[in-house]
Every structure is written in C-alpha cells, then in structure tokens.
Symmetry: C2
Subunit: 336 residues, 2 copies
C-alpha cells in the first residue's frame, strides 16, 4: 500500500463492519478500558454516570486504537519509507508507539507549545519530532513535505476510515460493557477535536444500542462541531481562540468525520477551561483516574448540567490522561 | 448468624475454594479491575511490570471485596443489629458502602487523624463515625464495646476467613488476566497492613500459578510482616513509628493472616515515605491512576530495585486511591 493508496481509502466512509473488523485486529493489543461508576456521585447527580476510562489505554489516550488499526494494515513495501503524522501530542504518541511495535520509522510534526511531556513521550518511543508554530504554520503542509521528501506514508489524525474505525472500537466496548451490566444508556458523550473518536463511537453505539444518543463535547471557543451540527456545514473556529485543552484544538471538523457526525450525533456541548479543571478534579476524587484537560470536557458537560442526567444513564468518555503534574495540580487546587 | 457465630468462623483458615466462592459472590458486584502495563516503563526496568489497578475498585480500594463477601452472608436476624468496624479509612468505606447497599446500619470506628476525605467518604455512605486516638486508644476495645452495647456484628478488617477470601478474589483476577495474555508471572507483590489482602492473594496465586512467588510490601517502620516472616513469629512494630501510609499502620500481623502468609509468602519488602511518594508519581505519569501512599508501596519495592525485576514479569498491586489533593500533589512535586 502506498501513500496515494491510503489517500484513496479516505474516500470511503467506514461502517459498523469496519469498526468490528478493527476490534478483532486490536483484540489482545489494545487495553479494554474499564467502564467505571462511582455510585456516590451517581446518587448526587440523580442519574447513573459511567466513565469510559480511556486514559488507561496504551500511550495514555484512545489514539493508540486508530493508529494501530491503520498502520498494522501497511504492507512491507509501504512500511519501508516510514510514517509521518502531525499531532498536538496524543496521536503523536499513538503513532510513535505503534511504529516502534511494528518496526517502522516515524516522523512526528508537533506544535512547539505542545505539553513538554507529550513531546518527551513521543521521542521516548524512538520517533523523530519536528516542531512548528501552532498558530502561524500549517502542520498539514509540513507533513506533506516530509511525505514527498522521504516517501513516507501520512497517518492522518482523524479523517481516515481506518482511524475512525479504530477509535470506534472504544464505542463497541461501551455498548458491550453497558449491556453486560444490564444498563440501557440514554447517552454517550465523548470529547471531540477533529471528530474521529466521536464518529467511530457513534457508528458503534447507534448500531449496537439504537436508543442511545451520542453527543460531542468540545472546549469553549473550539466548538466547531457543535456549531457545524446546527448550521449543517463545517464551521471554523476563531483563530484567536485559546484553551488549556491542548488535545482538542483542531480548526474545523474533518470531511469524513463530519459526514458521519452530522448524520449520527444528537448535538454537542462546550466546556470552559474552569469547567474542564473541575471535571479533572472530580475524576481524581471519585474515579481515581488521571484525566488531561481535553479528556475531561465530556465529563464537564454532565457535571455542569449542560447534559441533564437526572433519571438517566450516561457514559462519558475520558479520552486521555497525558497531563503534567503542574497542570494537574493546578486543576485539583482550583477546584477546592 | 450472630456475633459469636462470626467469631467461631474465624477459627478456620480459608482455602482456594473459599476464594473461588467469594469470586462468584462478587461477580457483577465488584469491579474486575484492569491489569495495566506501561511498555515504556517495562523497557526502562528491563522486565515486564504489570499494575493491578485496585484503586479503581468500588470505594477506591480492595476493601470492598472482603466487606461484601463477609456482610452479604449475614442473615436477616444478624443484619438487624447493624455492623461495626474499626478502620483507618479504606475498610471503613468498604463496610459503609456495603452496609448502604444491603440496608444495614453501620458504625465505623476511625482514628481521629485519618485523612479527612476518608472520614468524609465514610459518612457519605450513611455510616455513623466514631473517632479515637490512633496512638493512645484501642480500636478493638471500642469496637467490642459497641458490639456489646448495640448487639452489632463486628466486621473485622483482616483476620476473618470471609474477609481474606474476599480480598483473594483480586489475586484470582491477576492469575486469570496474566494467563489470558500468555504471561507467566515470576512474582506478585502487594501492600500489607494486617495481611488480609496478601494472604488471600497468596491463596489464589500459589494455587493457580504455582511458579509465581508472592511478596508483601509495607511502610518502613511498619514492616512487621517482613520481620515476622524472618523470625517465624508475629513481631510488633515500634509504637513510636510514623508513616504517611495511613492505610498500612496495623501494629502486628493477624493470627489467621500470619498462619497463611508464613506458609505462602516468599518474603517482604519495606518502602520509605519518599519511596512511596515516588511510586505515586510514577503511577500518575505512566499508568494514569491515582494511588494513595499505602497503595504505592509494592510499586515502590520494584522501582527501588528491592525486588530485582530485570528479565522477569511481575504484577504489583496498587491497592487504593483514597488520597486528598494536597498529599497527592506533594508526592508529584517531590518526585520532580
């Protein structure tokens, strides 16, 4: 498979069958992360709140799923030129870790202001890291240049059927774990940047549990999907917007992901930085998990009542835990 | 079953069959906590390190298992007088939560210097909390007085067959989870206070995986089991000893637990406060879980090289995550 062959695949929207195929591929490789409940918190909220603790996934975020589902399909010839990816940090770590597992060279294009621990972790998997200015340069252009120069294959962060299907395996697990407990979920809410995770999750959930609604959660100022769902076309974020949710700063919805999300989602929520920090503190106190700011926005949507949980059963995705101690403790302290 | 009937049971040592019976009772009630691996950390250590993330258990520690296995067996007559337990905080929460589930009144005797969040959590399950001076009063005496006054049943923290068997279900899960991955564990290391968790775990592991050695880990100054294993008799800790590991301050090994541990364990390790804090920080960085000081001592034993992991596969138990933000952030900061 060559770089252009990967691009051709991107024309096709993934289906539930692709998600199920990805689940077979990831079986025994990815962590089946637990669906946690804190009965005390559920009682406080007047509904049942479940957390899909995807921060416990390999590399500390769901991104491992899509990267492995995509890259493990590359043939020997395609692997020779290596892979390139652009990422704010979690896709970077996912691609770098999978590249190391499969013995593929990886170049990762990361914003210079990405959290130091995400850059450090990515390098620790043996990847070459190239940094750029998040607000002044185009990561896509830098990625494409490396593809051209080195004959490398681009592993896109979200807008690719294998990436979407890989992330969707998390949604399959939610459906299976809820069913195993006899719980009928009213809603699943997941963080959204380019929309790969929530699109794959919506594919799985709306097929396996048709009565369950699926919602996205984004940082305030980066709620391009929520606005796009309302307007019916892909809206962009204000380039001047800023957020502590470093994992969720994509400028607009993906093409494939929006084609799915516009059909499958029931709406979207947005969380402020303070609301994300409060959700991180709640995850610490009630669930004993480490959640990064961007990983906490879906939980924030419930805790702030933007999604009204009373009398309902809801699963929220905590999508990543790659946060440094300083940011984490600031969140815990600000929530006291 | 009356209070004295419970005491009579205590004469019998539990067996693997009791642990398996407890596992059936806990199925669908307790969380099957994940066995996590951080491949990067394993590579750094030159061996395979797995963490049994028992901080993700209901009530934030393994104590839920034993409490449920014990209390769910009480008949209607026995439940009427309520239950009483003495605990530094995790058994307190376990008993209080189970009492709430089963509709039983609970009085919990807790040291006045227990972490505020543990006292708060225990009360939040509807239990009545009675505090005492950890270093000046006998919690056993206070507990027995309440038993006598109220006709309540004492749920002991560790020295009871149903408690030990309940905690042992965690060991069964480790054996099953390792086997499912094709991993032959060289060792399992678990935190130890009175010894119920490690005794139950040793019952499960030495039966299901006979080649695997089982070790205890304790706070420095509270390594009564390690010293008892060497001397062959139950040694006491120096009453002047202090540790941040508030969950692991039992004065000496239990009678039943030592009868099992002296036969089944291969030795014990001790970790200083600083080593426990460093392990908490490693759990944060590599595993994205919140571990309290006492929950981190087994991980500390591996990270400090007290157990030499090179070339081996080891599962360490992170037994609880009930820690306040201040203590947690102090640990993260001191480890930078």
């Amino acid at each position: 498979m060559t770089s252009s062959a990967v691009s051709e695949l991107a024309r096709d929207l993934p289906t539930l069958a692709d998600v199920e195929d990805a689940a077979r591929r990831l079986d025994g490789v990815a962590v089946k992360t637990p669906l946690l409940e804190a009965p005390q918190l559920s009682a406080q909220l007047g509904g049942r709140l479940f957390i899909k603790a995807e921060c416990l996934q390999r590399t500390g975020s769901f991104k491992f799923r899509g990267a492995y589902n995509c890259m493990s399909r590359l043939g020997a010839a395609a692997r020779k030129g290596g892979v390139v990816a652009y990422s704010s940090g979690n896709h970077a770590q996912g691609v770098a870790a999978v590249a190391q597992m499969l013995g593929i060279r990886a170049v990762i294009v990361m914003p210079a202001d990405a959290p130091a621990m995400k850059i450090r972790n990515t390098k620790s998997y043996g990847a070459e890291v190239v940094t750029y200015d998040r607000y002044g340069e185009s990561r896509e252009a830098i990625g494409e240049r490396i593809v051209a120069e080195r004959g490398a294959i681009l592993v896109p962060p979200f807008d690719h059927p294998h990436i979407i299907a890989g992330q969707g395996t998390m949604g399959l697990e939610i459906a299976e774990q809820a069913a195993a407990r006899g719980v009928r979920l009213d809603a699943v809410i997941g963080p959204c940047s380019g929309g790969g995770l929530i699109a794959g999750t919506a594919l799985a959930i709306t097929s396996r549990s048709p009565a369950t609604k699926v919602y996205s959660a984004e940082p305030a100022g980066f709620d391009d999907l929520a606005r796009s769902l309302k307007s019916g076309r892909r809206e962009k974020n204000d380039p001047a917007a800023r957020s502590i949710c470093d994992a969720l700063l994509a400028p607009m919805p993906g093409e494939l992901t929006f084609a799915l999300n516009s059909r499958l989602l029931s709406g979207g929520f947005a969380a402020s930085d303070d609301e994300a920090r409060q959700a991180m503190a709640t995850a610490f106190t009630h669930f004993k998990i480490v959640v990064e700011p961007g990983g906490a926005v879906a939980l924030a949507a419930v805790l702030t009542g933007k999604y009204a949980i009373a009398g309902k059963a809801v699963a929220v995705v905590c999508s990543g835990g790659n946060v440094d101690a300083e940011t984490f403790c600031t969140a815990l302290n600000s929530a006291r």
